[in-house]
């Protein structure tokens, strides 16, 4: 079940922003994007993935470019962004197998 295009994951050690997909989704359902504020990346903050019941599933710290990547299962998810200053923003997203769903949020 190894996916294609990930930049070398081992164990549980994911870099900030998650492990970027570089050459297609392969057999995975990928949700990725960037968080910006006033047109600039938000490099300090967290992206959380909640399932259709609102339950927490995964979280990554945002990358220097405000980026995040999740390897989800097909279905509907809520992406929640937390950032300093009490910033909290939600966005609903659908993931599909073999597809990279891009999602950019301005907070």
């Amino acid at each position: 079940m190894s996916g294609s295009g990930q930049a070398g994951a081992a164990g549980c050690g994911a870099p900030a922003g998650g492990i970027k997909v570089t050459d297609g989704a392969g057999n995975q359902a990928i949700v990725q994007g960037h968080v910006t504020s006033g047109g600039s990346p938000v490099p300090t903050g967290y992206a959380r993935l909640l399932n259709a019941d609102g339950e927490f599933v995964a979280e990554v710290p945002l990358g220097d470019d405000g980026g995040f990547t999740f390897y989800a299962a097909p279905g509907d998810w809520t992406l929640r962004v937390l950032a300093p200053g009490g910033i909290r923003a939600d966005r609903v997203v659908s993931a599909e197998l073999g597809k990279i769903t891009e999602l950019d949020l301005a907070v």
């Binding site: 300090t44 339950e55 979280e59 937390l82 300093p84």
Partner: protein, 280 residues
């Protein structure tokens, strides 16, 4: 033990920065996070390079742990405050390590790096210099570590707590959703395990829920029998260290073990029973 014996909050850390006898240690999932900024005076422990044997799948041995802490300038008498990203997963894992090797004066920063960052507290890039020590570790405490045979023997007998996400528990995913889907040969869970995702014990800012909420979560809601011993597991043992911390350190359950082999081992074993599907 009370909550104040094992947890400190961000205000406490802020007011004790630089105090002699207190050592802040950052342990992250993202091992590059420390270099981008950390709490002033904190030293780094790399959960993989520093805490894992480089050849076998196992921990660093006692001598390795002694060498690590000596080199980082941590003495037996120091109060170690651990914190990290991802809601303290790897800090809890390191906490369990410290306990395993007999360092009892260790606490977690509640909420870890996330809470510190979301509070907009100061982070620095300056790496502190600490004089080397001669740290002496104890033999591993087998009372808090479970192996695969313990898990098989626990099926139907003890509390088994699978702290992964519901999709991992059911066998639909093999890894957390922020990581590529790889690792164990088979998906699913250990039969009779209850699924209580680690995240249910934490609030959105990474701090732990109240003792009353945690008791309800594992008792009334999940149906753990607190008169029985408990084994917690996840995929590689770090999320379950978070739950071990809750059950053993916050709720004072006496016999709780963390199965660090976890699903990457169990899900690749030949011949052991596996159950698929959602929790019951």
């Amino acid at each position: 033990m009370s909550r104040s014996d094992v947890l400190v909050d961000a205000d406490w850390v802020q007011s004790h920065l630089g105090d002699p006898g207190i050592v802040l240690v950052e342990v992250d999932e993202d091992t590059s996070a420390y270099g981008k900024g950390h709490i002033k005076g904190a030293v780094k422990v790399d959960w993989k390079k520093d805490l894992q044997d480089p050849v076998r799948r196992d921990f660093v041995d006692r001598a390795g742990f002694e060498a690590l802490l000596s080199e980082r300038g941590i003495s037996n008498d120091d109060t170690v405050i651990l914190y990290g990203g991802n809601n303290n997963w790897f800090a809890a894992y390191a906490y369990w390590y410290f306990k395993l090797y007999g360092h009892h004066n260790v606490k977690l920063l509640d909420g870890g790096r996330k809470k510190w960052e979301l509070d907009s507290r100061e982070m620095v890039t300056e790496v502190p210099t600490r004089a080397a020590t001669s740290y002496h570790a104890q033999e591993q405490d087998g009372a808090i570590r479970a192996f695969r045979d313990d898990v098989v023997a626990a099926i139907g007998n003890l509390n088994l707590v699978d702290v992964r996400s519901p999709d991992e528990f059911a066998g639909r995913l093999l890894a957390p959703a922020h990581l590529p889907q790889e690792q164990a040969q088979r998906g699913g869970h250990v039969p009779t395990a209850k699924n209580v995702p680690w995240s249910k014990a934490a609030q959105e800012d990474g701090t732990f829920k109240s003792d009353d909420d945690l008791s309800s979560l594992y008792g009334d809601e999940a149906g753990l029998d607190f008169s029985k011993d408990t084994i917690a597991y996840c995929r590689i043992g770090e999320r379950s260290a978070h739950t071990w911390f809750v059950l053993h350190e916050l709720l004072n359950q006496p016999n709780v073990k963390n199965y660090d082999g976890s699903w990457t081992e169990y899900g690749s074993l030949v011949g052991v029973p596996i159950e698929l599907g959602d929790g019951k």
